[in-house]
Point group: C2
Chain length 247, copies 2
């Protein structure tokens, strides 16, 4: 652990947790590997066992390691899902489903569009917009929380269709829209809020990858503005680049 | 603060910090806004002043807020840089420079390619590869740490050229390569390691957006494998999507 880090007053257990996390993320420890014992860590970092235990507990809370009774602590398999981001790829396609799944609708409402949403959808600020909150799970594990906004004048029944089909592609088709394309995607990362962590089943300090995206009709008409918060520990975003050969 | 969060034993100041962070990231508090006083926060959350102060201190450590002597604590401007990811966009182009800047080279070496790097570069495992570590700053603020790998047989002088030019485009041109394209990009997010935080000037708990990318010649020959760690609090990744009209 570096002196500069120590000098910030950052607690010893957090530094140890960071070192172990780096061992895992940088490939020195792999899924299924046994972590050094508390005693071994205490010796390696020159701390007491309690501090080493606290470091391990924090990694366990993040889901990076898991303690197995009687046999030690292991790096979790940490099934990581690849989510493709491209012009015509949908969440579910990239996860191997048939439809563009929206997941389970948690909440929906028709309400005045906030100024930034209205600008993205090309409607007047305060004009009615449909907001749909949904939770996407894969194999029972929460993967992403999505907030979608639609122009209520264009798609008044979209929330009901999403509840019925759990699929954006199917819900849009039911509204007469057969094709749409991704116009823009911006990616950021931040700490999960308390409610995001609760819904995504994440521990303290967990991170969300946040995508803000606009889908349009092929002619460029705005269709859907969405903000998705992915559990960073379970997702990689794979960005589609066009083939320079023009395929 | 939710009961479920409280039940995890998560400390009160972290919960308060999360709530305030959400106020900022979700737009209820904007850059330049004054944060409620310690007393007001203590009252709002039913904690003592010390706990409220700890929450503010942790946000200050992340660079999200800053205390100004005598006038209170404010949401920082937090200049956020947009980094474009596309087929032919380079870091510097997206930041408005003339070249594809690699930043200041911290370290370089020619060494046997690890198996995963060799596979990406299409060379034999253990064959010599040039590894270059660089730090990219914008307006004096550290933005990203990059590790680049090149086939040493193809580009033996690339490290020296990068040190000389601080530009990937210029360094490749000096090696006779006039054009290259992005073949793949995968984005993830995790906590910064201790050394990453030190080099990027980040506080405890800070997050890095990690991109793993392959650049190739137009004919698909692998050219450069790079892993970039962006300070998440200072960067948004803007993904380029092709125009469906084929422009």
């Amino acid at each position: 652990m570096s002196d500069s880090a120590r000098a910030t007053g950052y607690s010893a257990w957090r530094l140890i947790a960071e070192e172990l996390r780096a061992d895992i993320t940088e490939g020195r420890l792999h899924a299924g590997d046994r972590l050094p014992t508390e005693n071994a860590l205490a010796e390696r970092f020159g701390v007491n066992r309690h501090t080493a235990r606290q470091a391990i507990a924090s990694l366990a809370a993040e889901g990076i390691v898991e303690s197995r009774r009687g046999s030690g602590t292991f790096v979790t398999g940490g099934s990581v899902h690849i989510h493709r981001i491209g012009m015509r790829t949908r969440l579910s396609t990239s996860l191997g489903d048939r439809h563009s799944a929206a997941g389970r609708v948690l909440e929906s409402a028709t309400e005045p569009a906030p100024a930034d949403v209205a600008a993205r959808l090309g409607i007047a600020p305060g004009a009615p917009a449909v907001r749909v909150e949904a939770l996407r799970t894969v194999d029972g594990e929460p993967l992403a929380l999505g907030t979608r906004w639609f122009d209520a004048a264009r798609l008044p029944d979209i929330a009901a269709a999403l509840r019925r089909t759990s699929s954006v592609t199917a819900a849009l088709r039911a509204s007469g829209i057969d094709d749409y394309v991704r116009a823009s995607t911006v990616v950021a990362a931040r700490h999960a809020t308390t409610s995001e962590a609760a819904l995504l089943g994440l521990g303290p300090g967990a991170i969300v990858l946040v995508t803000e995206a606009l889908d349009t009709l092929v002619d460029g008409t705005p269709l859907q503005h969405q903000i998705t918060r992915f559990a960073a520990q379970r997702v990689r975003l794979d960005i589609e680049h066009p083939d320079p050969a023009g395929a």
